[in-house]
Structures are given as structure tokens and as C-alpha cells.
Amino acid sequence: MSRMLKLAAAASVVTLLPVTFSVAAAENLKVVASFSIIADFAKNVGGDRVDIATLVGPNGDAHVYEPKPADAAEVGSADVVLVNGLQFEGFLQRLVEASATKAPVVELTKGGEVLRNTEEEDHHEDKAAAGKEGHAGEADEGHEEGHHHHGESDPHAWQSVHNAEVYVKNIADAFCAADKAGCDTYRLNAESYGEQLEALEEEIKATIAEVPEDKRMIITSHDAFGYFEHEYGIKFLAPEGVSTESEASAADVAALIKQIRQDKASAIFVENVTNPRLIEQIASETGLKVGGELYSDALSDENGPAATYIEMMRHNITVIKGAIVGS
């Protein structure tokens, strides 16, 4: 079974308040971005014509974010709300309801290539094996019909640069719908930024090519790099699933340590959005040296090494290659 889905059909969750309208050209678009990576995309597309508020800022973990009344006020007064979708922002529905916003809530993964959450498939298979009420058949069919429940898809789609280009296109479309006068600018900005993304993708592939194929298994904190693995051929293992909300069980950690020893993982990394202690413990037990910090679900602050999406991807691949083959 292919792990790839076209999201266009599957993305049924955030069709919240699909009201679009144009704002007066003299005013900047008020844009709310759910987390820092989307905010960076929006900045590149919107330029000086948009004012961007970011809900989950640099180094923040959107999986466990608790929205504040001030966030609801921000969303309530926005012209456009940009979100990842795929249930990455678990807080989204209650926040949108509390905000009573009339702005379109735009799911940027729409139209991208989406990976299944293999953890969720395991969940279904476990249930089917146990003979309990379950939906194991749905793993093979039916999702394209719009049935979409918690954890069905891996939300970290931005870890594929190809998908990042889809995010950018969707942002340009959303800005054009809300501000027709600025549409040409948004399209030009998106095109220009898209060229930078294409160059970035080539850079990543060239760097990976320098890593021996038998050294391409590494460890991180949570399953945030499934798209990177799929696109670029580095195998990632992690003690935590696609969400940081649930802590890894002792059995999960033990199984991972066994697999690391058996399959000879090359390197282990902490992530900027998770507590490093579990990774440090695994490193200690397996003899792997922590190879550095990867930026998974959030950018760094402006003084850090991953203040933009392009810097983040460059930083990650540089750190990965450096830990495996030396810089």
C-alpha cells in the first residue's frame, strides 16, 4: 500500500468559516500564523503588505500548545489565519470557536503529498489483531472519502521542501483572495521564494549524497522527520510518536535501544522543541554521541541557527552530515 495520499480529498478538518473577503488596499493584511515556520513562509510571500502574528513562536511546541484568550483575540481580528492542518494544531478548533473569527482559516497542507501516520496504522492493526471493534479496513481504503480522525496523517509535511512549495502557493492564493490589489506582488514573491526553495532542495539532495547509504539511520526525539526520510532517504527512528503529547513508554524506549544496537544507527540528535533528557539517556545506553540539535517543529529565535525555514533545513542537514561523516 502506498504511504502517499493526496491531501486534497483527505483534508476535511479545517474547512472552518471559509469566508473570504478583501481588505482595503491601504491597510496591511492582518495575518495569524499558527507556528513559526508558517510565519516565515507568510513573511516571504506577504513582504511589506502583511502584518503577521505568530501563535506558537520560535522553539515552541505546537503539539502541546495551550492557546490564551489573547490568541483568540488575535485570531478574531485577523484577515487571514494560516494553519498547517492534519491535526498538527490540536488547539485549533477550540481557538477558532472562541475567537468567532470571520477570517478564512487556510490549511496549508491542502494539495500537498501527505504521509500516513504509521503509528496510527499500527493502532488499527493492533485492534484488528485483538479482535476488537476497529477500522482496520479503513487503512486500505476510505480515507480519501474525507473521513479523517486523530493521527491519521503525519502532520510534519514541511520537512519535505516540495511540500513547502505547496504551502507557499496556498499562502499566495489566500493572500490574493483577501487582498486582490496585492495579488501580483504576492505571486511574484511566491515565485521568487519558490526558486530559493528549489535550490534548497538540490542542496539537501547533494549533501545527502555525500552520506554513505549504510550510515543513513539516525535517532531523534519524536517522529517529526517522516517526510524528510521519504524525500531524501535518511532513516529516522524516535522514541516518541508524531506528537510530543504522549511520552514514550519504557517498552518503546527499550525496543528502540534494541533496534539501535541491532541496526547500528549512526547518530542521535536532540530536538529544539523537546526535552533532551530522554535522548541523552538513550545515547548513554547505546554509546551513541549526541550529534547536535535538530530543528523539527519550530524555528530558532532570530539569533539562533534556524531563524528561517531555509536556514533550518540547511542547519539540519549540515548537523546530520557532520555527525555521521564529519563536517
Binding site: 495551550e66 484568550p69 472562541a98 480522525h149 486523530h150 493521527g151 526535552n275 533528557r277
Partner: protein, 402 residues
């Protein structure tokens, strides 16, 4: 799964036929009400208004419900005991849906005795009852309560006090008594490990009274501001969030935590409440004036945008926590003056799904308000003086044949 229908609980919306099991969507809400004078807890089916049961206890009680809704506790200060009640409603999360299990409510068979139980706090399924007369906390898990086991552990402070304890993972947060003036409120918080040894320093919180959780943040109210507790790197991280100079003289002594949105709602003086964002350093406090003195307040766990404040003129106010203003007001009862003793019988507020329920102890009724339209929809008569109230319930699926 057992589905013993103890009452005419509403059954609605036949849904899933996707698998072998036949799934029904079931909604069940229960109200647990203590009496101001009598030692009893009355259980009302909030869907049809019928009485499910009355539990005799040992003294008038304040009530607390667990986060899961599976247990309700009657804290009987004068009688010196905390009684556990199994609500009879439980949920099991299956990711794409949740199952509900509805049974008869019953006394759990767990009583924790001690001198003057007062503050009762849950954190992640562990309950800490503080016994003022002993200056000690007794901590028990929800699992033990539901199994009918009184397996509690005890943490002692230096002296009797009107204190509080929170079981915080591997640690316990304990109030520190005022040694110079033992009759006055605690002066701060200390963190102890499981063996009782102090971890870290002392966290000053003069006149500590009132605590609440909202999401992953815990807060204590002090005369000087809030102590805000978050998960630190291994041990609890505690910081002081001071009241800004822009606030008038006053302090918060009662806190409740937002659900769905992360904030705290506290009293601030007799006729004001304050909305608090615990995650920021500036503009953390928003003061809201009430038309008259506050009697009680509660947050809406379903409609995150709203909280409710009852005032002594008999009005229930719908507070928009996003805008920081009263959105609607509704006259429900005769006036309940805040003059007199603090524990005189006065209304209390709870939210049960789409209904706001307000006790009216002097008339012996519960007033029902539709949470969407904010209009009164009915009354439920309750014998005696219905006073403290908590609700448990929700919707879920049941599967035939399980």
C-alpha cells in the same frame, strides 16, 4: 462494556455501523449537590431532572469532581472526613471516537479522616486533601479510590494551618505555615520529594489562599501576585507573577483555571474579578468590574470563550474572557447579600454540557440556563438547601454486545 442504565439517560443519534459492533451515541450528565445544613449529597440526572440517589455522609460538604469525572469528593470540614463517590460515568478514548460507560453512582467506600479537611486539589489523577487541624496532606490516586482502597500517603508540614498541597508528579508542593502568626494564612510554598525532603528553595507567597490549574500551568494566589508552577527540567519550575501597579489595592483569594483556553479567573476585591494570563510578564492581569459583590464564579469547559459570575443581586453574568467584559446578564434569584457569614447559604454555579446550573439554596431549586442562548429554561426542585454543586458527564459511544 457494561451499560447499566441507572436512569432515563438520554440516548440519541444512532451512528456507526462501520464494524461488527453496533454503536450508539449516548449523552449522560449528572449533578452532585451537597446540602447547606444536612449531611447528604443528592445526585440528579441533568438530562431528565430526575433524582438518581441520595448519599448520607457525615457533615455538610463542599464538593470536588475529578478531571476524569469518574469521582466526586465530599469534603466535610466540620465532620473531619473526605468521602469518595464514584460518579458512575466514565470515558475511554479511542482516538477517532470515545466510549462512554454509564452505571449507577455509588459511595466508593473510601473515607479519609483527619482534622478539619479544607483544600482539596487534583493534579494528574492524584488528589491531595489538606487537613488544616493537623497541617498535613493525605494523597490518594483516583485508581485507588475507584477500587475502594484508602491507600493514601501523608505529607506533614510544620504546623496546623489553613493550607494546601498539590501532588505534582514525583513531588509535592506544600504550603508553609505562618510561624509568627499561626492563625493567619500560609506564607509560601515548599517543594518536597517523595521522601519528604525539601527540594530547592522557599517560594514566598504571603497570604496564600486559592489555587487552580489551567492546561499545564498551576497557580497559587498570594497577596503579592501569583506563584506560577510549570514543568521544569526535572523539578517544578516556580516563578512569581506580581500584581502590576496599575491594579487597585487588593488580592486574589479564589482562583479557577480556564478550560480550552489557558487563563486564570480570580476574585479581586468584593465586586471585581481578574483575568490572568500566566505566561506573560506584562499585561497579565485584566480587571473586570461587577455590578455588585461576587458570590461565585465558574468557567465553561465547553465554550472556552465564557466564564460565569453570580452576584449578590441574583444575577448570573456571562463573562467573555477574550474581550474581558460581561457579555450578558440574567436575573435568576432573589438577592443573596454577601453581608453575614462567608459560609451562609448562597448560590453556586456549575456547567453541565449545554446547561448552566445555579443552586438557589433558600428556594430549594436548581435554575437551568441554556448556555448558548443564555436564557433560563427551567428549574429542578431539590429537597433541603442545595448548595455546592459539581457536574460530570458528556457524550460517547456504546457498542451493543460488548
Amino acid at each position: 462494556m457494561r451499560t447499566n442504565w441507572a436512569s432515563a439517560t438520554a440516548i440519541a443519534l444512532l451512528l456507526c455501523l462501520s464494524s461488527a459492533a453496533h454503536a450508539e451515541e449516548v449523552t449522560a450528565w449528572r449533578l452532585f449537590i451537597s446540602d447547606h445544613a444536612e449531611p447528604k449529597v443528592t445526585v440528579i440526572d441533568a438530562v431528565d431532572g430526575g433524582k438518581l440517589d441520595t448519599f448520607r455522609i457525615k457533615g455538610p460538604a463542599s464538593l470536588h469532581r475529578s478531571e476524569s469525572g469518574r469521582t466526586v469528593f465530599a469534603v466535610q470540614g466540620a465532620a473531619g472526613v473526605v468521602t469518595g463517590i464514584a460518579s458512575g460515568i466514565s470515558f475511554e478514548d479511542h482516538g477517532e471516537h470515545g466510549d462512554i460507560d454509564v452505571e449507577a453512582p455509588k459511595l466508593a467506600g473510601v473515607e479519609i479522616a483527619g482534622g478539619k479537611p479544607s483544600h482539596f486539589v487534583e493534579h494528574n489523577g492524584d488528589f491531595a486533601a489538606f487537613f488544616d487541624g493537623e497541617g498535613a496532606a493525605r494523597i490518594i490516586s483516583e485508581k485507588a479510590v475507584l477500587e475502594g482502597k484508602s491507600d493514601f500517603r501523608e505529607m506533614k508540614t510544620d504546623a496546623p494551618q489553613h493550607g494546601v498541597a498539590v501532588a505534582y508528579g514525583s513531588y509535592v508542593l506544600l504550603s508553609e505555615p505562618n510561624r509568627e502568626k499561626p492563625d493567619e494564612l500560609p506564607v509560601g510554598i515548599r517543594v518536597a520529594d517523595e521522601a519528604g525532603a525539601q527540594v530547592g528553595g522557599f517560594h514566598a507567597c504571603p497570604d496564600l489562599h486559592g489555587e487552580a490549574s489551567s492546561g499545564n500551568v498551576l497557580a497559587f494566589a498570594c497577596a503579592t501576585g501569583l506563584l506560577v508552577v510549570t514543568h521544569g527540567d526535572g523539578t517544578p519550575a516556580i516563578r512569581h507573577l506580581p500584581y502590576p501597579h496599575s491594579l487597585p489595592h487588593g488580592k486574589t483569594t479564589t482562583l479557577t483555571g480556564g478550560r480550552g483556553l489557558q487563563y486564570f479567573l480570580g476574585n479581586f476585591g468584593a465586586d471585581k474579578v481578574v483575568l490572568i494570563d500566566p505566561t506573560v510578564e506584562s499585561d497579565a492581569f485584566r480587571l473586570i468590574s461587577l455590578p455588585t459583590r461576587r458570590v461565585h464564579f465558574a468557567v465553561d469547559p465547553v465554550r472556552a470563550k465564557f466564564a460565569y459570575v453570580f452576584t449578590e443581586d441574583g444575577q448570573l453574568h456571562q463573562l467573555d474572557v477574550v474581550k474581558g467584559e460581561i457579555a450578558n446578564s440574567l436575573k435568576l434569584t432573589d438577592p443573596y447579600s454577601m453581608d453575614g457569614h462567608w459560609s451562609d447559604p448562597r448560590p453556586r454555579v456549575a456547567v453541565a454540557g449545554d446547561r448552566i446550573v445555579v443552586t438557589d439554596p433558600l428556594r430549594g431549586v436548581l435554575h437551568l440556563v441554556d448556555a448558548t442562548s443564555f436564557e433560563k429554561t427551567g428549574d429542578i426542585a431539590v429537597e433541603g438547601k442545595p448548595f455546592n454543586i459539581v457536574s460530570v458527564g458528556g457524550s460517547g459511544q456504546t457498542h451493543e454486545g460488548e
